[in-house]
Amino acid sequence: MDFLVVFRNGNFSFLMTGLAATVFYTITGFVLSMLIGLIVAFGQLSKKKVCRTVAEIYLSWFRSTPLLVQLVLIYYGLPILFHIDTKDWVCGIIALGMYSGAYVSQVIRGAIVSIDKGQMEAGRSLGYSQGQTMRKIVLPQAFRRMLAPLTNELISLTKNSSLLSCITVAELFRQANTLIAKNFKTMEVYIFVAILYYILNNIFGVIGKVLEKKLRTGEELE
């Protein structure tokens, strides 16, 4: 075993560009998934049947098919079906966002319905509209309840982003494979990469916890 290999010949910075890419794709994908999650959640909670149906179909498709399959369908499928010129990393972000959005929608919906309906009534009785009450009163309180499961989702997404290597995106796992193809130090590089994922995800975990603590209101069941 020669673990120092990852620090020689510019290998370290080569892997670091991969790590930076992983962080970028994950976070961008996560922002997109929050947006999609919010839309799907409100779709499910909507009074309109058509909104509920569309949301349910979205959810069942993206939750029930593997991310890897979705990735290749978007990356290889779009050019074939619609002659859309696909960029690997753009496809990657979109696929991550759409896949994770299905899960995030359930986190958001669960948190919203867990807020006592008296909060909505109190807001409405003061003269706030439904949307204003949702935005100013219900969502901020629901957000705290979302934090733990959202942190989970972000961590999942970080790990899932390694699948982007299959559509040629130069993220951490692909950089590692490229490196191994050159120096054949399989175990050394994979272990180092595993540690990098581990550290990154624990940083996300800590940020989630700090945020949760910051948003404490004293009403938590702890």
């Binding site: 006592d116 008296g118 909060q119 009534e121 109190a122 807001g123 409405r124 009785s125 003061l126 003269g127 706030y128 509209s129 439904q130 204003q132 100013k136 009163i137 901020p140 309180q141 705290r144 948003l215 209101t217 004293g218 009403e219």
Partner: protein
């Protein structure tokens, strides 16, 4: 002769096939305190919550301070009014809930300042000054900067009253405001309500506190199975009820009090 503040006209409410409120007609004058009593399931809370259309009803109209709220008349028919108008009208009607419903993510003073700033576009300094004044009124000036979760039930309810008053409503609705409180906290809330009544606020109250009802009400309304079976001054309702069923109900509640 004082003028009418609330006019409920031929209100009909159904839950599916269940007829919850049957042709309710009720007037409340400016400054009047009306207490609604009746057996559980008689529709008291539903009637109260209809006044600001938190509870939707299917027919009839309610007028507050000369303007329709909830439903309006169109070609001689009662139809739901547009949302924007309803929201504006609700600002005239303060509501206090059994379960307080303070906003858990805001401090006490933010709870009070929020709606005037958001909806009446009051500036922060004015809103704060008014909120502090209201906190003094309900006897909790020292709690301005704490979170609602640290308050007792009685304190929460007093803050909820202050929050509703911050919008300078014409009418205050109280939906069993002391039912969720420990007995020793009931008094502090009733005291605030009494002072409010004395200040000339028009109030409609649903309560199980019969002695309180007797002492604060100008008019008592008895509801049974969705109909008003009797209304009148508290002396009449409690001491000389005209209706046999009122008599039975009043007897039952007061006997229960004695047994307890």
């Amino acid at each position: 002769m004082s003028r009418k503040m609330i006019e409920i006209h031929d209100l009909e409410k159904f839950y599916g096939a269940h007829h919850v409120l049957k042709k309710i007609n009720l007037d409340v004058e400016e400054g009047e305190v009306v207490v609604i009593i009746g057996p559980s399931g008689s529709g008291k809370s539903t009637l109260l919550r209809s006044i600001n259309y938190l509870e939707e009803y299917q027919d009839g109209t309610i007028i507050i301070d000369g303007e329709y709220i909830g439903r309006t008349m169109k070609n001689g028919k009662s139809v739901p009014m547009e949302e924007k108008k309803l929201n504006a009208m609700r600002q005239k009607v303060g509501m206090v809930f059994q379960s307080f419903n303070l906003f858990g993510h805001k401090t006490v003073i933010q709870n009070i300042m929020m709606a005037p700033m958001d909806l009446k576009k009051e500036n922060r300094a004015d809103a704060r000054e008014e909120a502090e004044e209201l906190l003094r009124k309900v006897g909790l000036p020292q709690k301005a900067n704490v979170m609602p979760s640290s308050l007792s039930g009685g304190q929460k309810q007093r803050i909820a009253i202050a929050r509703a008053l911050a919008m300078k409503p014409k009418v205050m609705l109280f939906d069993e405001p002391t039912s969720a409180l420990d007995p020793e906290m009931v008094g502090e809330v009733l005291k605030v309500m009494k002072e409010l009544a004395k200040s000339g606020m028009t109030m409609v109250i649903v309560t199980h506190e019969m002695n309180f009802a007797k002492s604060i009400a100008d008019k008592v309304v008895v509801l049974e199975e969705g109909s008003i079976i009797e209304q009148g001054p508290p002396e009449q309702i409690f001491d000389h009820p005209q209706n046999e069923r009122t008599k039975a109900f009043v007897n039952m509640v007061f006997t229960k009090d004695v047994v307890e």
